[in-house]
């Protein structure tokens, strides 16, 4: 649905993005991640036909964003980062205007506008001035204008920025409900959001794509081991050595020792569940097993490893500070 090939954009002497390539399949919800200033908004502005790239090509719904811009624009819904809306217009007339400009027929328009207001939970403010609305409502009006023409592709730039936790949850479930019928590309730097909403991610840093794919694949790629956290009351050095010698265990990290109880992070081959072995070992040695759980790898850790890894060699393990 979206194919981007070697996209480069210069602003004068500054290169905002360099040779960015990725593709998004129809119906997919993809998170576009990166630190601030990585080039997310630039890429989205090019995809939405607001400005052209310096070189490279981008196709949305099969049309070139530069040469067939009108065709692309008919098929997208775009929400820019700061949600620019006309403060002096009322919600319903504004959505009616957007629908008309986007080519929704006169007969359909009223029904369509009512539908998106219902869906975005803004029917109750339809006669209010947009400028008087709270940030959460404005965000939803912005989302409503993006989907009012039922576009194939939604381009959402930081749709949850500046909202309170409850509003973030609402917007997220709204975006989730759009998946399937629409192809969505949404940028954010709130990582848990991506794991909750998106199937795949594209990570961009300093203008270049550094990783892309389904979240699970990325986690595997960057963290080849499975991790288990154990808390055992027993002599710490003996426990560490004992666990380390178990088959499949790759590394044991001491997270902290307190009152004779040690907490360890055990890394093992991904296909091997070492929890049973650890339990057996503890039982054998008459160590008291206090806790035994799998530690899931979060996208956050992947992200930090990728983005930080580009600057320094290896990020400090999380346990390091705890020990100090």
């Amino acid at each position: 649905m979206i194919e981007v090939q070697d996209l480069t954009k210069h602003y004068g002497p500054v290169t905002a993005i360099r040779d960015v390539s990725f593709s998004v399949a129809p119906g997919e919800v993809v998170g576009f991640l990166g630190p601030n200033g990585a080039g997310k908004s630039t890429t989205m502005r090019i995809l939405s036909c607001f400005m052209p790239a310096s070189s490279g090509s981008a196709r949305v719904a099969g049309f070139d964003v530069f040469r067939q811009s009108m065709e692309v624009r008919r098929r997208i819904g775009y929400l820019p980062e700061n949600v620019p809306l006309y403060a002096d217009m009322r919600v319903a007339p504004y959505l009616d205007f957007v629908a008309e400009v986007k080519g929704v027929g006169r007969s359909e328009r009223r029904r369509r506008v009512a539908e998106v207001m219902e869906r975005c939970l803004i029917s109750d403010v339809q006669n209010r001035l947009i400028g008087k609305l709270s940030k959460g409502y404005r965000q939803r009006v912005g989302l409503a204008q993006a989907i009012v023409n039922d576009p194939d592709v939604l381009i959402l730039d930081e749709p949850t920025i500046g909202l309170d936790p409850r509003q973030i949850t609402e917007i997220r479930s709204l975006i989730k409900s759009l998946a399937g019928e629409h192809t969505v590309i949404l940028s954010t730097h709130i990582l848990p959001e991506v794991s909750m909403v998106c199937g795949g991610v594209i990570i961009i840093n300093k203008g270049s794509v550094v990783a892309q794919g389904p979240i699970a694949t990325l986690v595997e790629q960057f963290f080849p081991t499975a991790r288990v956290q154990v808390e055992i009351a027993g002599p710490a050095p003996a426990v560490r050595d004992g666990v380390r010698r178990l088959p499949g265990v790759v590394a044991v990290q001491e997270l902290g020792v307190q009152d004779g109880r040690g907490t360890f992070l055990v890394e093992s081959a991904r296909d091997r569940d070492v929890r049973g072995d650890i339990f057996q070992l503890a039982a054998q040695q008459k160590w008291e097993l206090r806790e035994l759980r799998r530690v899931g790898m979060t996208l956050e850790e992947v992200f930090i490893r990728i983005v930080a890894g580009e600057e320094t060699e290896a990020p400090a393990p999380a346990g390091e500070e705890a020990r100090a």
Binding site: P80, P84, Y86, M89, R90, V98, V101
Partner: protein
């Protein structure tokens, strides 16, 4: 072309914000004052001409009331109010970022431009239409000649159309509304006074300067003379300014 929705949106914005009401109110207030003063002096003059029949031959209600009124409308309305009407059209959208949404909707830059221009023109036409109350009052007390009044209005309309186009151009060049208004005012004022130096310069250059003057072309309209040269001047002025505005809008596509 999706001019109509853009036009409607702009009209809505003029009338949901206080802009249109303030402009209409202030303009009518000032014009009412001018009209009453001009009319008062004219009635004094006609009173005096009853004692002095020689003066009566000079009296002409259209010439003495409507013509000065037209000049005042031109100066107040066009020179000082038009920049305020057009300044927000693009500058505000660029400032708030709404232009990013507007220009990613399936609508051509030209349609956005024409829609916005027509909205400003419609507001201006409404202002002009409201001033018809003055010749109306005049007709109640005297018998004005309608010919010169009609050509005067046509002249004002064409001149205003040109002014609005300049305002739109200035608005498309900046994100700051005040800058847009000041630039518009400056350009218009220069074209207003450029004819003054024509006499001193003389020769071909003088004729060129005289031709460029916005004011000189209006003169014949207010006298009741319809000259294609003047009509063409205003239409040219408008078209050139709108063309430059379109180029300025499109510049985002090729600027680095």
């Amino acid at each position: 072309m999706k001019v109509w929705p853009i036009f409607k949106k702009e009209m809505r914005l003029y009338f949901t914000s206080p802009v249109a009401y303030v402009v209409l109110f202030i303009f009518l207030l000032v014009m009412g004052y001018f009209f009453s003063q001009i009319f008062y002096y004219y009635s004094l003059a006609s009173m005096q001409s009853m004692m002095n029949p020689g003066m009566a031959r000079e009296l002409n209600v259209t010439e003495s009331v409507m013509r000065p009124l037209f000049t005042n409308i031109a100066i107040i309305l066009l020179l000082s109010l038009m920049p305020l009407v057009t300044m927000r059209l693009f500058a505000e959208e660029r400032q708030t970022g709404t232009i990013e949404l507007l220009l990613t909707y399936p609508v051509r830059d030209g349609a956005v431009l024409v829609g916005k221009y027509l909205a400003a023109l419609a507001l201006y036409a409404l202002l002009l239409a409201l001033t018809l109350v003055y010749p109306g009052m005049l007709a109640f007390f005297a018998t004005p000649e309608w010919g010169p009044i009609l050509t005067g209005y046509l002249g004002l309309f064409l001149m205003g159309a040109a002014f609005l186009a300049v305002g739109l151009l200035a608005s498309s060049l900046t994100t700051n509304q005040i800058v847009a208004a000041v630039v518009t005012f400056g350009i218009l004022l220069l074209f207003w006074v450029i004819g003054w130096s024509a006499e001193n310069v003389g020769g071909t250059m003088g004729r060129v300067l005289a031709h460029l003057s916005i004011l000189d072309h209006f003169d014949s309209f207010s006298k009741g003379v319809l000259d294609t040269k003047d009509i063409v001047y205003y239409v040219n002025f408008t078209v050139v300014a709108l063309f430059l505005t379109l180029r300025s809008l499109e510049s985002r596509r090729w600027k680095g």
